[in-house]
């Protein structure tokens, strides 16, 4: 019905839509080199981060310790303190930062694609606020156990995030369609409510203020293998399931109607993609707290370097997100002696100038192209 109504107009745009799907013609062979760059960069950054810290351990010792933990490899015995620092503290931290960074970057790219809005980011429609409320409610309750496997904070944050997104989505729904503007607005409203609740609770339960504040600031100081293991399945499932929709995201950038013409139920796809991205983000937030900025700038960076095709933007956002957050966390734990700097401060202070630099170069190039 809709497609028929939009007939003439959609018809006029059809070549553009066809271009978006066909023109880049990214075959696997053409995509693979950029994937390889992403993988190698991420691994190199991770290795550097594991070797770097306030406690100076020679890189060869660090690598020997790393190899020694592989099955069937023996590299002799090492100073148990070094071993503990490398294997129990640094590696889990780097792994978790990488997973969370990849998820935020990837989810950010998905959100920006679905909303067709460059300001969209993974916290936009309530994930962050919902997770904060969930975490805060546990922190102020007698159930609160600060850390460890049995801590109820990550599941509570996870549930809070999903409830908030479901609310935002439900409130924005108009019949079968979910207008994008409505969803953003209801997300913002839900987020405001959540933020107020958290602020109120923080000031009321003053003996827990520091714990709540610390959670909302986010970070990887308490990273563990367990946390990575808890979050990994959600992240992998979401990442793998979203990727096949990359081509469709390309089409949706032009107009929903173009996508509908391809016989796609756009509303359902949007719901699915947002649901998957939110699920992964919720898992990330649950184990790391709120880390801003990554989900916003990483996809743009990927787009500026590798072009607008979502078949590249999505995976590259994951690799860049991982590399960026691992680097940011390395700075957070090593810039100020043995003391932590909140990671959000680092992501904004280091990430923003880099992003602005990229943006200027990109716009200058675009300007020259126009003038020519």
């Amino acid at each position: 019905m809709r497609a028929a109504d939009a007939g003439p107009l959609a018809g006029a745009q059809q070549p553009a839509a066809a271009d978006a799907v066909e023109m880049p013609l990214l075959t696997l062979r053409r995509v693979l080199p950029s994937y390889a760059i992403g993988i190698v960069t991420t691994l190199a950054v991770a290795l550097f981060a594991i070797c770097w810290g306030t406690v100076h351990i020679p890189p060869q010792t660090t690598i020997a310790i790393l190899l020694g933990h592989l099955p069937f490899v023996s590299t002799g015995t090492h100073d148990p303190t070094y071993d503990a620092i490398v294997w129990d503290v640094r590696v889990p931290r780097v792994v978790l930062a990488g997973l969370v960074g990849a998820t935020l970057g990837y989810a950010g790219a998905t959100y920006q694609g679905v909303f067709r809005n460059p300001l969209a980011e993974p916290y936009l429609i309530g994930v962050a606020a919902g997770a904060s409320v969930g975490a805060t409610l546990i922190i102020i309750s007698p159930l609160y156990v600060a850390a460890g496997l049995l801590s109820p904070v990550p599941p509570a944050a996870f549930c809070g995030a999903l409830i908030a997104v479901a609310l935002a989505y439900g409130l924005a729904r108009a019949g079968r369609a979910v207008p994008v503007t409505g969803l953003i607005l209801s997300g913002v409203a839900i987020s405001s409510i959540g933020t107020s609740v958290v602020t109120y609770l923080m000031l009321t339960y003053t003996d827990r203020t520091i714990s709540i504040l610390n959670w909302t600031l986010g970070g990887f100081n308490t990273a563990s293998w367990t946390k990575s293991a808890i979050a990994l399945p959600y992240m992998v499932v979401a990442l793998v399931l979203i990727l096949p929709f990359a081509r469709l995201l390309n089409v949706m950038q032009l107009d929903d109607d173009d996508a509908r013409q391809l016989g796609v139920d756009v509303e359902r796809v949007k719901l699915l993609l947002l649901g998957l991205a939110s699920l992964a983000t919720a898992a990330a937030v649950a184990v790391s707290g709120l880390i801003g900025f990554v989900g916003l700038i990483v996809p743009h960076t990927a787009r500026m370097i590798f072009g607008p095709d979502y078949r590249r933007v999505l995976p590259m956002s994951a690799f860049f997100g991982a590399s960026f957050l691992i680097l940011a966390d390395t700075l957070a734990r090593s810039l100020d002696g043995g003391r932590e700097i909140p990671i959000g401060v680092v992501t904004a202070l280091i990430g923003a100038p880099f992003f602005l630099h990229l943006l200027r170069r990109y716009q200058r190039a675009a300007g020259e192209l126009r003038d020519a």
């Binding site: 306030t54 406690v55 850390a147 100020d336 932590e340």
Partner: protein, 321 residues
């Protein structure tokens, strides 16, 4: 730039901390002088001019009879010097001594409501921090407010200074002096037993929060360890009184003692032992992990000496039988 923000966060943390102290009070030895019937003595001390945090002065014409104490530490001091009959309200965190816990009028020190403070017609409001311009607001209403910021209380001596200050402000200098003298005696009794311990023979990690916030040398918690000749692995922290340490820094520093001020918030000796990578730390290997009531160690009140005595027994069991 990061340091500045770290500072802000640390200040927030400090604010949270001071609040946290209040949370769980329960009986340790009460040391209160005087009976509530004692009238404000030594009227000759007034009028009296005191310097506040922030630089302004406060002049009191006579001993206040309607004090509002917005600091749980100050409330403990006011009870200990027998000035509680001059007090009309305490803050919500006040829970020691028992009478303070059951005090009929309690106000919120974190989001103080100027109206409800003014309604009590106080002739002295004591605050240990100035959230949201409270001091200015009270000044405009010409309500005498004594602001002695907790951030400036950096040593055990500074805590005694708070006692002396409140003694003057309440007109109970004799009781305050006697209290300080007895507290000093107890401090000396402890320090004399550790005077021959080389400074830093043992080192300590004092945990304020399970995400590894700790107290630096620049706090009265840090001063407790200095008095005990124990090296605090947080050091002077370069300006932030309550820094957050990285796990690798803690493991590498290898403290011989771990003190948990976050036991009421779910951290236990066992949970510390189970932290990945911590098994190499001497304190974990030798079972030298102790919990301390956060109210004792982090309120600027008379019970700071209780904290000192407990830490001395925990850290040097052989010297304090």
């Amino acid at each position: 730039m990061p340091t500045r923000i770290t500072k802000i966060v640390a200040l927030l943390a400090l604010a949270a901390l001071t609040l946290a102290l209040v949370a769980c009070g329960s009986g340790t030895s009460a040391r209160q002088a005087a009976s509530p019937t004692t009238a404000p003595a030594a009227a000759a001390q007034f009028p009296l001019t005191l310097t506040r945090s922030g630089g302004k002065t406060l002049t009191l014409d006579k001993a206040p009879a309607r004090i509002v104490s917005l600091s749980p530490g100050a409330t403990e001091i006011i009870y200990a010097i027998g000035a509680e009959s001059q007090m009309v309200a305490v803050d919500k965190q006040a829970d020691y001594p028992a009478a303070a816990k059951d005090f009929p009028t309690k106000l919120d020190a974190y989001e103080p409501n100027v109206e409800s403070i003014a309604a009590l017609k106080p002739d002295l409001v004591f605050v240990a921090s100035d959230p949201g311009g409270l001091v200015d607001a009270l000044d405009r209403l010409q309500i005498p407010v004594l602001w002695s910021d907790l951030n400036d209380v950096k040593t055990v001596d500074d805590v005694f200074g708070q006692i002396t200050l409140l003694g003057k402000a309440t007109g109970r200098t004799d009781a305050a002096d006697a209290l300080v003298a007895s507290l000093r005696q107890r401090v000396d009794a402890v320090t004399s037993k550790v005077s021959d311990v080389p400074m830093g023979q043992k080192s300590v990690y004092h945990e304020v929060d399970s995400t590894y916030y700790t107290a630096s040398d620049g706090t009265f918690i840090g001063d407790l360890y200095r008095l005990l000749h124990v090296k605090n692995i947080a050091g002077d922290a370069g300006g932030s009184p309550y820094p957050q340490l990285t796990q690798e820094a803690i493991i590498a520093a290898n403290p011989q003692v771990i003190v948990l001020a976050d036991e009421p918030f779910g951290t236990t000796v066992d949970s510390v032992k189970q932290r990945a990578g911590w098994q190499t730390i001497d304190a974990v290997k030798n079972n030298a992990i102790f919990a301390i009531d956060p109210d004792l160690a982090s309120r600027a009140g008379p019970r700071i000496v209780d904290a000192l005595e407990q830490l001395a027994k925990d850290i040097y069991p052989e010297r304090f039988q």
